[in-house]
């Protein structure tokens, strides 16, 4: 029966080609739009994750309570061992048998102080406050340059190659009148709160193009930060990111809960404590709002697309009014005709959906890898304090593999079913009258 219907559809292109094309296009659009929206919202979260929170962040219990003060005297110790444990023991499989996404873990030191620029006599020429991040740039396989998008953000000079190399925001470099290759002295406190001064060599300047976020920012290699702050094998935090850089709130929360249950001692203020991205300041609300926005926007779009395809199914059925009348007159039962129409709709819907899903996923994957650059538009907003990504990436997520079937198959079949209802309402006497004319 299916073979017979498929042959019929292939031989009569007027019945199959146009509906399949419409469904393919629509499903492609659905997949790409939803993938792009998910990617955009993920990009907004990723910016915060890269700079402040990670997808997961391990700190000491005491540090988490005072994190606004950057209290490095409460930093994590034996960081190499902690990271090794995290890599070995996670991913885990949760109680539902799902794998937690694979994370990569990287230490981070966040510190603040003054940046002092010397004149030719070594006396202070200029001084300004600085917020610095000690990031693991130089380890083998480190993805920090990639996730900070530093190659694109570099304004002048080069990326850090030595432990005392520093990248300074172009805004701060202009303000303090520092040139590439010059030495600048960081003045601050070690993890023992002792006074410290440390010379960094300015290897380059960067502009994250995220408004005022990087106004006083300095990026140094972790080893340089450790030397400056006397933090041997210590770190303010260990950041965890999924390999895909896609934040899945549900699994992040599950991993955080699991880790804290097993590894964290509520009576020990220095025991490690994991925070999911949503646990950061107001980030929970942002994650919830972006999830709700995604559901509402995706839902509305899906409903509109369903109406279009449902209507197409309906029109297809009605267009075949005469053919169906003839088949009934030839003795085919109403049920047979109705079932064959629905089967045809299922075949058309499935074909269009599979092809549309394939094309949609391909386009989404391409935009996931290459992004769409909005730099010029975002630069126009550079005075805004809002942290905005300037390249939007789509995101291929598991739901994109099946979401196209809702409009592609379901709506088409529903439309056909409604059109086919007319078959049952036609009287034989009326039918022959129609055929005579």
């Amino acid at each position: 029966m299916i073979k017979f219907l498929t042959k019929g559809l292939l031989r009569d292109r007027s019945r199959s080609l146009f509906p399949v094309l419409v469904i393919t296009l629509t499903v492609t659009l659905v997949i790409f739009t939803i993938g792009f929206m998910q990617g955009m919202l993920n990009n907004l979260l990723l910016d915060t994750a890269v700079i402040l929170t990670g997808h997961e962040k391990v700190v000491t219990r005491a540090y988490s309570e005072e994190s606004q003060l950057m209290p490095n005297d409460l930093a994590l110790m034996d960081v190499d061992q902690l990271i090794e444990n995290l890599e070995q023991e996670y991913p885990l499989v949760d109680e539902l048998g799902r794998d937690y996404p694979n994370f990569f873990w990287t230490p981070r030191i966040t510190f603040a102080g003054l940046l002092d620029v010397p004149d030719e006599n070594g006396e202070t020429k200029a001084q300004g406050p600085v917020i610095a991040f000690g990031i693991d740039f130089l380890s083998n396989g480190s993805r920090q340059v990639e996730i900070w998008e530093l190659e694109r953000s570099l304004v002048s000079g080069k990326l850090p190659e030595n432990s005392n190399d520093a990248l300074i925001s172009s805004k701060m470099a202009d303000q303090l009148n520092i040139r590439i290759g010059e030495s600048v002295t960081f003045i601050g406190s070690t993890m023992d709160n002792a006074f410290t001064t440390y010379n960094f060599n300015m290897s380059g300047t960067f502009n994250l193009r995220k408004g005022q976020t990087d106004k006083q920012m300095m990026l140094v290699d972790l080893s340089g930060a450790r030397a400056a702050l006397d933090m041997d094998n210590a770190a303010s935090a260990i950041f965890g990111f999924t390999h895909s850089l896609y934040y899945d709130d549900e699994t992040a929360v599950a991993l955080r809960t699991e880790y804290n249950k097993i590894k964290s001692d509520s009576l020990d203020i220095f025991s490690p404590f994991m925070l999911a991205l949503r646990d950061g300041n107001q980030m929970g609300t942002m994650v919830d709002i972006s999830g709700a926005m995604m559901a509402i926007m995706g839902g509305i779009f899906l409903v509109i697309v369903m109406i279009v395809l449902w209507n197409m199914g309906l029109m297809n059925g009605l267009r075949r009014y005469g053919e169906i009348g003839l088949r009934l007159a030839m003795g085919e039962s109403k049920g047979q005709v109705y079932r064959s129409m629905i089967s045809e709709a299922v075949i058309i819907g499935l074909t269009g959906t599979v092809v549309g899903t394939g094309i949609g996923l391909s386009i989404t994957y391409y935009v996931q890898e290459n992004g769409i650059d909005y730099t010029k538009g975002i630069e126009a907003l550079s005075n805004s304090s809002m942290v905005m990504p300037n390249i939007f990436y789509a995101q291929v997520t598991p739901d994109l593999f099946y979401i196209g079937f809702i409009p592609g198959v379901l709506a088409t079949v529903l439309g056909t079913m409604l059109a086919g209802m007319a078959i049952y309402k036609r009287e034989m006497a009326q039918l022959f009258k129609e055929l005579e004319t």
Binding site: A62, E66, D73, L74, L114, D116, P118, G122, E123, T124, T185, I187, S189, T190, D192, N193, A194, F195, T196, T197, Y198, N199, D230, F270
Partner: protein
């Protein structure tokens, strides 16, 4: 009845004492004990952090209230670090960076070597009589020793602690306990002193304990005076910026 009697006797005693010495006399005597024309001292600062304690040794040369030079002797990370105070200016030299850096602005409120003392605390050593208006609040026994309780309120602007309350030992004429307040009345720091002994005819403590009350879970900083000599000749050249790098 007994309570009333004790109160009357205490009040009479208080009046008797303050009749012997005016409030101004007490403050002046306290200043004379704590300040000198010059002093050279070797000390240890024990900083009790939330994780560990560190001991930092230093040697200080001080003339009056305007000139001070400090050289840190240990631990290795701090060894060779020097500080110079000339009037209201403060420079620090760190051998790791080979830089002389002026500490100014909000950095003066930062902790010295991670202790509970700020650079401002080190800078403000003018006699109390010049800075504060004192009021006698009462009397109290601490560890079996009789103390006056004195409220000191700033009479000049720009002090780190516009208000302080001192418990002054009646025999040693030293503030064995002090509470240092912000203008709003918020308690910022407390300090105590003990190990008081006679040095060159004056009572002087051998240990101070400072506690920054704004630091949560702070265990305070001990400042232990190992050696101290008053009123000795220190050449002016000791207080030159050139000496910071030597």
């Amino acid at each position: 009845m007994i309570k009333i009697l004790i109160s009357i006797l205490s009040f009479a005693f208080l009046l008797g004492q303050s009749n012997d010495m005016s409030v101004q006399d007490i403050i002046r005597a306290m200043d004379e004990n704590l300040n000198a024309k010059s002093r050279v001292l070797t000390s240890k600062m024990v900083v009790h952090g939330r994780r560990t304690s560190r001991t930092i040794e230093s040697k200080n040369w001080v003339i009056g209230i305007d000139l001070a030079f400090t050289e840190y002797l240990s631990p290795p990370r701090e060894k060779g670090t020097k500080m110079l105070k000339l009037g209201d200016k403060l420079w620090t030299y760190s051998p790791q960076t080979d830089r002389v850096i002026q500490i100014s602005g909000h950095m003066l409120r930062q902790s010295v070597m991670g202790s509970d003392m700020s650079y401002n605390d080190m800078m403000e050593d003018r006699p109390l009589i010049e800075l504060y208006e004192a009021t006698l609040e009462g009397s109290e026994e601490i560890d079996g020793r009789s103390h006056w309780i004195m409220l000191l309120e700033a009479k000049v602007k720009g002090l780190s602690y516009p208000k302080r309350r001192a418990w002054i030992d009646k025999e040693y004429l030293l503030p064995t306990k002090e509470e240092l307040y912000a203008k709003s009345g918020k308690l910022l720091k407390t300090s105590t002193m003990d190990g008081i002994k006679k040095v060159q005819g004056r009572w002087f403590p051998s240990r101070f304990i400072y506690k920054d009350e704004l630091k949560r879970n702070s265990k305070g900083t001990e400042w232990i005076i190992d050696e101290i000599a008053f009123d000795i000749d220190i050449p002016e050249s000791r207080f030159s910026k050139a000496l910071l790098r030597k």
